[in-house]
Structure formats: structure tokens, C-alpha cells
């Protein structure tokens, strides 16, 4: 398949307050599978950065390894990007952030990259409260290696071979709340209406902001006779009436009213009930947030929206009391104590 993206843009594309058009936030054309939820997230990232607005070159985009981690190539062409190694995005982001506190750090990762190989780095970047927006593109499976269950696949959810996942799933949002992350949200790649404002809030949050985005994998659930076949899913979506019919090459979009509950059958055949955060809930309470997540989970529903927000969270720089001048801007004269000081140091070892 060849991908050719038209270079034509409307000559009167609106500019944001910084004078950039949406095009200035775009990246290369995606090479992910047509209809992949991740592409919707990339698009939401572009939209969020355009709308805030941020200067594209002041964003640093980082990732690990996997389908999700390829996406930084598909947005923000004017930003430096770092596609690191599997599960290690948080440490690269930590170092980069320590070097220059003035940039905006956007990390994307997948469920394998975060909940399995990168679990250690994930939980510690949360503890550290690094000023980082951490987006998990969560599809419950390993796409690039062709569909193995991941650690966020729900117990009983069926893999492409029809074998129910026998293991307990990891809820990244619950973990993040427990570990002290100051901004924890869950969303759905098909829900741009919710995702864009969430991303904007996360990018502007001081400290770590986790958004766990459920992002369906369209490719590995299409074997004939399987309940996870394209046909089965399409039928199910139609049956629930929550999706319009979506051809494989388009994105899946779901829209619903504020406060409403939505049952969505994912491409892997598992059923997710989506509904917005219940109005009146105190998202600043860690304990209530955990209670609510558990309560909704017990009912088989997946809660989305902002789950927890700590308005007083401190980021790593503020914890460490580092200079307000980015460390990578400091000059040799500010950093090197010089020969006279070294003479004194030598004297202490005599």
C-alpha cells in the first residue's frame, strides 16, 4: 500500500494565537494500520497543541517501543523526538527534563511498554512527579508482535486465538493515583471531544499527568469464525448502536452526552462500558477516586475523564530545588569552580 498525503492545505487555514496553523503541528503520515486508534490520539495531540497553543519547537516528544511509540513521528514535526528503547521512555524523559525545565515533555507509550517491560520506570516516574504528560495508548495487546495479550488485557478477555486471558489485569490509573501522580485521567481514542481537552489540561499540568487512553487495535481480531473478527465487532457495534458503521480504514468515533454511560465492544471482543466522570464527584480526593474506580469496575464499567487531580502537586524540579535557569543553559563560568578552589580542595587531602 502506498501512502500519499496531499500537501494542499486551505490557504486560509486559521492560525492560533502564536501565528501557527494546524499544519505546523503535524508530522509524517502514519504507517500504522488503517483505523488504528493510535492515529486518533495523534490527531488529538496535534489539536491540543494547536489549541493551547504551544510553540511546536518547545515540545519534546518521547516514546518507548511498540506501535504506540512510533506515533511521535506522526505529529509535531518541529519538535525534537526521542524514540528510546522498550519500556525506558520515563528515564529518558527524566534526564531530558532535568536538563531543561522550560520545555514541555510529552511521552507516549503502550500497554506493553508501560505495564510490562516498563513497569519499573513507569511507577518511578510517577513517584518522582516529573513534569511530563504520559499518554498510554492502551489496546490490551502487543500489536507489533501480532496480538499477544498484554498486562492490561482484562481477565477473561479473548485474544485473537479465542483463548480468554487467564490473568488479572493491571489498572494503570489506580496505580498512578496510589503512587502520587497529580493528574490521572482515562479516555478513549474514539472520543476526541473528551481527549483533546484532557490532553490540553495534562500538558499544562505541573508534574506528572497520566492519561490512559483505550485505543483499539483493529488488525489482530479479524480471523473468520472468531468473536473478535471484524464482522463480529461490526455486528456488535451496530447492535449496541453506539457506533456508526465504520469501514476498516477510518477511525472509530464515539460521541455521547455528558454523564451518559456507553457500552462499547472493543475490537478484541471485550465489552467496555464508557461513561463520563459523574458530576459532583470530588476528583481531588485520592481515596474517593480509588473508591469510584473500584466501584465502577465492579459493575463492569470503565470510568473515563479526569479521575484524580492534585492541584498542589510539586514537580521534580521543585522537589529538588533546582535552579530556575535550565541546567543546560548554565555556562562554564557558572559551573566550574576553577583552579583556586581546586588548590583548596587538594589542601584538604594533605
Amino acid at each position: 500500500m502506498t501512502f500519499v498525503r496531499p500537501t494542499f492545505r486551505h490557504p486560509q487555514q486559521p492560525a492560533n494565537a502564536l501565528g501557527y496553523t494546524r499544519k505546523d503541528y503535524e508530522g509524517l503520515i502514519s504507517t500504522l494500520c488503517a483505523g488504528c486508534g493510535h492515529d486518533s490520539i495523534s490527531s488529538a495531540i496535534i489539536q491540543a497543541c494547536f489549541e493551547i497553543p504551544v510553540e511546536p519547537h518547545k515540545v519534546v516528544k518521547m516514546s518507548g517501543i511498540g506501535c504506540s511509540s512510533k506515533t511521535p513521528a506522526y505529529y509535531l514535526d518541529r519538535s525534537h523526538g526521542f524514540n528510546s528503547v522498550h519500556g525506558r521512555m520515563p528515564s529518558i524523559a527524566t534526564g531530558a527534563n532535568m536538563a531543561n525545565r522550560d520545555l514541555i515533555y510529552l511521552g507516549v507509550s503502550g500497554d506493553g511498554d508501560t505495564a510490562s517491560i516498563g513497569m519499573g520506570q513507569f511507577i518511578h516516574v510517577l513517584r518522582r512527579d516529573l513534569n511530563l504528560t504520559y499518554v498510554v495508548m492502551n489496546n490490551g495487546c502487543y500489536g507489533l508482535t501480532k496480538g499477544q495479550d498484554s498486562a492490561t488485557a482484562d481477565r477473561g478477555s479473548r485474544s485473537k486465538k479465542g483463548v480468554p486471558n487467564p490473568f488479572e489485569s493491571i489498572d494503570l490509573c489506580e496505580m498512578a493515583i496510589q503512587l502520587g501522580a497529580g493528574f490521572v485521567a482515562r479516555s478513549f481514542s474514539g472520543d476526541k471531544q473528551q481527549l483533546v481537552p484532557l490532553l490540553k489540561a495534562a500538558l499544562l499540568h505541573q508534574g506528572v499527568a497520566l492519561i490512559d487512553v483505550i485505543s483499539p487495535c483493529v488488525t489482530f481480531n479479524n480471523t473468520s469464525g472468531s468473536t473478535k473478527s471484524y464482522q463480529y465487532v461490526r455486528d456488535h457495534i451496530e447492535a449496541t448502536g453506539t457506533f456508526d458503521f465504520i469501514p476498516l480504514r477510518q477511525e472509530i468515533v464515539v460521541e455521547y452526552d455528558e454523564g451518559a454511560t456507553q457500552e462499547v465492544t472493543m475490537h478484541d471482543g471485550s465489552v467496555i462500558h464508557l461513561h463520563k466522570s459523574i458530576s459532583g464527584v470530588d476528583v481531588t480526593s485520592r481515596r474517593l477516586a480509588l473508591d469510584l474506580l473500584e466501584a465502577e469496575r465492579a459493575q463492569g464499567r470503565l470510568l473515563t475523564g479526569i479521575l484524580f487531580l492534585d492541584p498542589d502537586s510539586e514537580d521534580t524540579h521543585s522537589i529538588l530545588k533546582t535552579s530556575l535557569t535550565p541546567l543546560n543553559h548554565l555556562t562554564q563560568d557558572e559551573l566550574c569552580p576553577g583552579a583556586a578552589a581546586l588548590d583548596e580542595i587538594n589542601q584538604r587531602f594533605r
Binding site: E55, P56, H57, K58, V60, P72, A73, D77, R78, S79, H80, G81, F82, N83, S84, V85, R88, P90, S91, I92, A93, T94, G95, A96, N97, M98, A99, N100, D102, L103, G120, Q121, I123, H124, R128, T316, H317, L320, K321, T322, S323, L324, T325, L327, N328, L330, Q332, E334, L335, C336, P337, G338, A339, A341, L342, I345, N346, F349, R350
Partner: protein
Amino acid sequence: MSRIEKVNDFVVRFANVNGTGSASANNLFAMAIYRMGVPVTPKNIFPSNIQGLPTWFEVRVSGRGYLARRGGIDLTVAVNGQTLVQDYNEVLPGGYFLYDSTKRLPDDCRRSDLNVIAIPLTQLCNDAFTDARLRQLLKNIIYIGALARLLNIDHAVLTSAINSQFAKKPQLAESNLQALEIGYTYAGEHFDGACGLRVEPLPTRGEAILMDGNSALALGAIYAGATVAGWYPITPSTTVVEAFERYANRYRIEADTGRKRFAIIQAEDELAAIGIAIGASWNGARAFTATSGPGLSLMAEFLGLAYYAEIPVVLMDIQRAGPSTGMPTRTQQSDVLDAAYASHGDTRHVLLFPCDPGECFEMAVDAFDLADRLQTPVIIMSDLDLGMNDHLSPPLTWDDSRRYDRGKVLDAAALDALATKWGRYLDVDGDGICYRTYPGTHPSKGAYFTRGTSHNEYSGYTEDNTIYRRGMERLARKWQTARALMPPAEETIRAAGASIGAVYYGTTAQAAAEAIDLLAAEGLQINMLRLKAFPFGPEVAAFIDRHDRILVIEQNRDGQMRLLLINEGDFPPAKLSSVVNFDGLPITAAIIVEQIRALLSSPDAGGGIETPGERP
């Protein structure tokens, strides 16, 4: 009764229980001898434990300036009941055994060739001091006082050392001085003239310092302008970062705000530790991590990324005895091959081999310049012996006119001035090194996507075999550039026509030089080459080619440097023989001499990986 009679040439060993404060007392002893101008080498031989296990502290005193561990004990101070008999048996014939006679010597201590000095340390201490915690510490000072008298150590040097150590706690200084006096007086009254070992002051101390290598590395990082350290605690590298923090708190605090011009992140593991250093370096700060063997194993993944994505990073490897957890508190030079080729795929890393604290400092500074210049990891290969023990060393030096070499970095103006399209991995100078940019530099130019996947000259993903191969060949070209930037090996030609050459590096240097002196006294001349870096410069091959036989002296079982030389230098393996010590204790001249004699008496002894014990 035989008696060892020596002036400024002996070894004292302290046998203590760890966690009893003996280290500071024993260091006081070494410092006093150093301040008398007599070259001294303290070695702490300690357990991987915090409290209650045996620990030894060996001090070699050498008026001739030999600084390696010597082996053999002339005088033991035995205050650990657990090892008392072993300590008793290990003293050389004619040597001295000072023990705490509050408890009597076990019945099986019946050597007739030993001079026993019985001092009731516990009794003396308990009679003078009431505080239980202080008693434990001051008992150590009492034996230092006794030694001062027995060995003729300058009393004033000790008292001034104590006074400066406790400058902020005069009350403690007083008790310490009192304890010193108790030991001194007791030894004078009961053992006057009982010891044939003496320290006599020398006028030669000059500018030398007595310092541990880890502090010197930390200072090197401070002077090089490192601002970010990612680390995970691991013996024996922990004190590098602790020292870095100490000096940073002294020299890197903003006067007006009290804020820090550095960030130290204690990571969750070594994977993250080096990831942090790489992320920071990528973003234009100077950053480093410090670790030891087990950490190096974990860091291999990221070293491969930094090599291939061409990100500068400085790694300080304070080697310890492997494999696996090995002996965490014993020394070795056994990470050489692992470090040189760390990570999968075709990788090669720049290594630096410091041999003393002065060089630790210098090489740490150089490492940051080299990493920036070459855009690749630079690994400093220290070891536990160098890192954690105090070493007599030339002072640390800094030239205020020296400027950091940040390598090929384009700023906004440089990007605007470019006539042709910039490519992150485009080699425009032909040296294999390309131009990089820092994030946030320019609104529309210079952004690129860093990746460990195969990439073209413009950092775009590619699976094109030609482009991939071109990139790998350029990295090989960069390696050739690196070769010319390394500090050259240090050659010492002792006899122009000598047919044997010795090659060694790092902490093996002192013992090797001493061994070669000993062999020269027997009429065997050996030329010397001390390696300072990998990749090897042309001087290394020239030295090896000029000799018929090469002895590679090092501290690991398999002769890793020998293998690296053979692999990289295309030398006939049989020409290079291994001389090794790998028992976890620092190599000695005696070990080297013995092995060289055995090698040279066997006509066909070539290289190989057999252990020295199995040699004919």
C-alpha cells in the same frame, strides 16, 4: 627470637570488626605516616556487610615509594576475636602481634617466631571512659596511640590530625587525645624497644595528596560542568555520587536563591540510571552515571542506544569482583571486555583507564569532552581499589584557560546560516561525526527524531540495506577518529634492546612497576607500556611489534585486556602472555614476579585462558 628490623618499609594490618569505628582510627594512622612524608598505601579489605563481620585494614609503608599492596604482614593489630587465630598465624616470621590482652590468647597461638605485644585495650578503655558507645570508638584510638609509640610516629602529627578532625566537637577531640595518650603511655611503659619497625620522617612529601579515586572522579564531573547524575546505589561506586553531591552542595548553589545548579536522581535501577544520564545529555546538559559490574550488565541496552543514536554519556565503572554479584567488596579489572563491546549488535565503546586519583580527575574531565566530541558513551574504568581506598597521588590540577569542548552542536544562528539541508546523521566533515542540535533551539529548523532503529542521514526511519550499511560504516569511521583523540599509552623503555615488554593499565600500574624493578635487580630488563584508553593508539601496536614477547598484567582470570589486544590489534596470540591476579585483593609485585619467572622458565608458554595455578 627473630625480629624483623625495618625502617619505612613494612606492612601493618589491623584486624577489626566492621561497624566499630575502626576505619577512621586506621585512616588516622595512615594519614599520620603520610604527613611524616613517608609514602603510604592503605587498603581497606572489608565485608559486604554493615556490622559485625571481620574487616581488615592494611597499611604499607614504603620509603622508596612503592604504592602497591605488598602482601605479607609485619605487624598485626588484632582486635577481632573471630579472626584472632587466623590473624596470628598470618604474621610473617619475626613479625609482631599486638592484641587486646584483656582476654588471654587462645591456647593454639604458640608460635615461637612471633613477637607478641599484649595490651589490655578493653581494660584500659573501660577504666578511662564510661560512655559505652564512646568506649568502642576510643579503644581503636588507644591502639593507634600504642602504635605511635612502638613505631616512632610523630606524636604532634597525630594530635593535630585529631584536633582538625574534631574541630567542631572539641569535647570529642579531648577524649580522643586522652585515648591516644593512654595507648602511647602504656606501650612506652611496657614495650619500650619491643618493636623493630620504625617510621622516620622524610622530606619528600611535596605536593602529593592522599585521596580516594571516587572523590576525584566526582570532582572531575564537577569541574567538567556535569549537572545531571542518574544513579543507583551499588558498591563500590556509591561514593562517587555521594561525593558529587557533597561538592555540588559546596560549589553549585546559587548565591542569591539557594537553588541547585545540579540534579541528582537516585533511580529505580541501573537501567533508569543511565537512561537519565542519556536523556539529559541528549538535551544538552552534561550528565553521567556511576556503577559497577552488575549495573554495567543492565546498562548494556542503553549503551547500545547511545552508541547507535550517537548520544554522549559518561559512565564511571568502579569494577568489583564478578561474575554475577561476585564479591561486592573486592577489587578486579574484570569488566574490560563487557565494557568495550557492551550491548548487542556491532558496538564499541571508548574506555579510559585511570591509575590514581589525579588521573581519575583528569580523565573524568576528558571523558565529558570526549563524549561530546565523539557523541558516544565514554566509560571510565576505575575499580574498587582505586575508588574506595586512599592513594598517594599527584594533586588534582585545573587550568583556568581550559574551555569545555561541547563538540559539534548547531545553535539557532548556525542553523540559519546553513547553505544546505541539515542532516543529524550527515557526515559533512568526513570524520564520521555529525552535527547535532538541542531541543528547543529553533522554531522551524534542526528538529529531528532520535531513534535506536535504523535511520538515514536525516534521522528518518529506514530499512534500506544500503543506507543502513552506510550508517554503520560511518560509525566505524568515527571510531577511527576516536583513536586519534585518546590519551596515548605511556611507554617506559628501560633497556633499548629488551625483548620483553609488559603491558598493563589502571591499578595494576604500581605493582607492575615494582615487579619490573625487582626483576631488573635480578638482571631481567622489561620495557613497560601503561594503557590509558581504548581504542588503542598506534603506539600500542608499535610497542608490541618492537618486542618478542609481551606480558599483559591485569586483575581478572581470563586476561581480558590480552584478549582485547589480540582482537583489536591482530597480534599473534602466542606472543602475548597473561600475568593475572583475580582473588579480589589488589595485585602485588610478588605475584607478578612469581608468574613472570614461571612463564619465562617455560619455553613454550604462550597465552591461553588457563589459570596461573595450572601453569607448568
